[in-house]
């Protein structure tokens, strides 16, 4: 049974062997050689160094195309034309499914036809050398961004390949991203990834780890996202990870977003021990975008504005083409520049919005209730507690496609556009917290003169793409 305990060196090596043999490119992995390789990298390509020493929010886009040369061009474009501080390499969906054979086919087809038949960069197929070629060719730190429940081989190859940051975690890359993966197994798989990152870290090569905060990207109540971030942070820390970036996806209400980012940082620092350096990342709106670039720029503008007020360590930007499909590199760079301009213009204004503290207290209280419930369900073991909590629905994620989460919780916006919980199901929140959510939603229902039904949730899901924040019935407020 899975426990929140550090894998022994022995366990690590045994898993290592198995993982490496899953695909031919695994054979090229050599830990000592990898350490040496990382040591050759200049400071400005070291992810944790750059991120942790920044004095303003750093900007990072998402981007991944199948072919190596094209990926290099793409990243260099985003760095030079977009002004990205940190670069990504987004992995394709077949690799996320450990379908390296299909990924290989896609890569071959991409090479032959010149078309992007994969929705990302198949790093496993490119192998250690391919990754290193990428790391050498681009002049900024690069992170692996994916969505892979079993990311062990991907981690082993990309770490050896020179990447020093790796997104994801056992909950955040399972629940929103897949249907049938067993959560216990995913936790074990990520213990390996985190332990491997820890092993590098102990040798002086800090591997930054970044749990995926936005989850399903769709009206996720901040307390749920924060609780999961802290849990994944704890799991990673146990395995020796020392640079952890906790994530949060914009919900669109500035007060709530600023409060949530502050709560995330505070709880991260509280629950993770002192040896861990905690940073935060804010994702510009992760839900459905407007089908119009001009309006999408408005959404991006609000994200940038929020970032400028909340001051996270990193911002993941969106492009105005989000609705349509994977953006062109020009549109991706445009999203970066729009964000940068707005943050630059606002950050020195030191804006403080009324009501943030109140919302922060509410979020912190609710998040803490969830975290504490998980810990108590596991008798102090966060891994066991997590399994138990998802089993009972005491921890849950709205719009979850996964069999491992009940997905019974339903969110809706209140009259100010803050995301509240509409259907708590078995979520481990106190009556006190529930009462506040209920009151806020009641007052919205009254404003609109309608019942709280799934229709309201559906309207809220569509609202931003329809040009509003709150899904009011036609005629509005």
């Amino acid at each position: 049974m899975v426990r929140d305990e550090r894998l022994t060196d022995d366990q690590l090596h045994r898993i290592d062997e198995r993982v490496r043999s899953a695909w031919p490119t695994g054979a090229a992995i050599d830990f000592e050689d990898a350490i040496e390789y990382h040591e050759t990298l200049p400071d400005h390509k070291r992810f944790a160094t750059v991120l942790e020493s920044a004095d303003r929010p750093l900007l990072q886009p998402r981007a991944g195309v199948p072919r190596l040369e094209e990926q290099i061009d793409l990243l260099e474009h985003l760095r030079t034309a977009g002004g990205a501080d940190l670069l990504p390499t987004t992995i394709d969906s077949y690799t996320r499914d450990n379908e390296y054979g299909k990924a290989e086919d896609g890569l071959v087809e991409a090479r032959e036809t010149g078309e992007n038949t994969l929705n990302g960069f198949p790093a496993v197929n490119h192998g250690v050398d391919g990754c290193r070629e990428l790391i050498e060719a681009v002049d900024a730190p690069v992170e692996v961004r994916h969505g892979t429940p079993d990311a062990r081989l991907l981690a082993a190859i990309t770490f050896a390949g020179g990447f020093e940051s790796f997104e994801g975690g056992p909950i955040s890359y399972n629940i929103p991203y897949t249907k049938e993966h067993d959560l216990a197994e995913t936790i074990e798989h990520w213990q390996y990834v985190d332990r491997l990152a820890g092993a590098y870290t102990e040798r002086g090569v800090t591997i930054n780890r970044e749990p995926f905060g936005p989850l399903t990207g769709t009206l996720v109540p901040p307390c749920i996202a924060i609780a999961i971030m802290v849990i994944e942070g704890m799991l990673a820390a146990t395995q020796g990870v020392r640079s952890i970036t906790l994530g949060y996806g914009q919900v669109g209400n500035i007060v709530q977003d600023v409060a949530a980012l502050h709560a995330l940082r505070a709880l991260g620092e509280e629950y993770l021990h002192d040896a861990v350096s905690v940073t935060t990342v804010f994702h510009e709106w992760m839900g459905g975008f407007p089908p119009d670039e001009a309006r999408a720029n408005g959404v991006i503008g609000l994200g940038a504005m929020t970032a400028a007020v909340a001051n996270p360590d990193k911002v993941i930007t969106k492009s105005p083409q989000e609705f349509e499909g994977v953006p062109t590199k020009e549109a991706n760079a445009a999203g970066l520049r729009t964000t940068r301009q707005l943050i630059n213009m606002v950050i020195e204004q030191d804006i403080r919005i009324e009501g943030v503290d109140r919302e922060l207290n509410l979020i912190q209280k609710a998040s803490r209730e969830l975290i504490e419930r998980v810990l108590s369900l596991g008798d102090g073991d966060v891994a066991r507690g997590t399994l138990a909590a998802f089993e009972t629905g005491e921890l849950d994620v709205p719009f979850s496609p996964s069999d491992s989460a009940k997905g019974d919780v339903l969110p809706a916006r209140d009259d100010d556009g803050r995301v509240r919980i509409f259907e708590f199901a078995d979520l481990a929140l106190s009556e006190e917290v529930k009462e506040i959510h209920r009151n806020r939603l009641d007052s919205r229902a009254r404003t609109e003169g309608r019942e709280q039904t799934f229709r309201m949730v559906a309207d809220d899901v569509d609202a931003i793409s329809d040009g509003m924040l709150i899904g009011r019935p036609a005629g509005g407020r």
Partner: protein, 146 residues
Amino acid sequence: MATTVILGVIGSDAHVVGITILERALETAGFDVVNLGVQTSQEGFVEAADAHDAEAVLVSSLYGHAEQDCRGFHRKITAAGLDVTTYIGGNLSVGQNDFEETRETFREMGFDRVFDSEAGPEAAITALKRDLGMREAEAERTAIST
């Protein structure tokens, strides 16, 4: 008796929000919906259509691999001896493509209708009513009751 439609996201795609919205809207419009959820295989769709004697199969794909995921799908449907109306919708290709080309591709693969991601539940419902010849009366009844 209500018309049964099968709904699901094909391949390894996990975008669930769209079909969640579709499911509820189709139900409200009077359809019997069998929602297979995300990451459904071609076989999954075919078996469900067969088992539930469905009149239509609605395939959703958002993540950009729809073309690969749907190769051979209609052959399987025919092989199973099924005569169902098939729709596909979502973000059907990787990147910023011309939708008309995309539509053509999927029409050639055998889909009766191809929807872009701007098409919401209403478009699906209108099309189903037309294609399945749902009786006007039934349509009206449900319109009144919602």
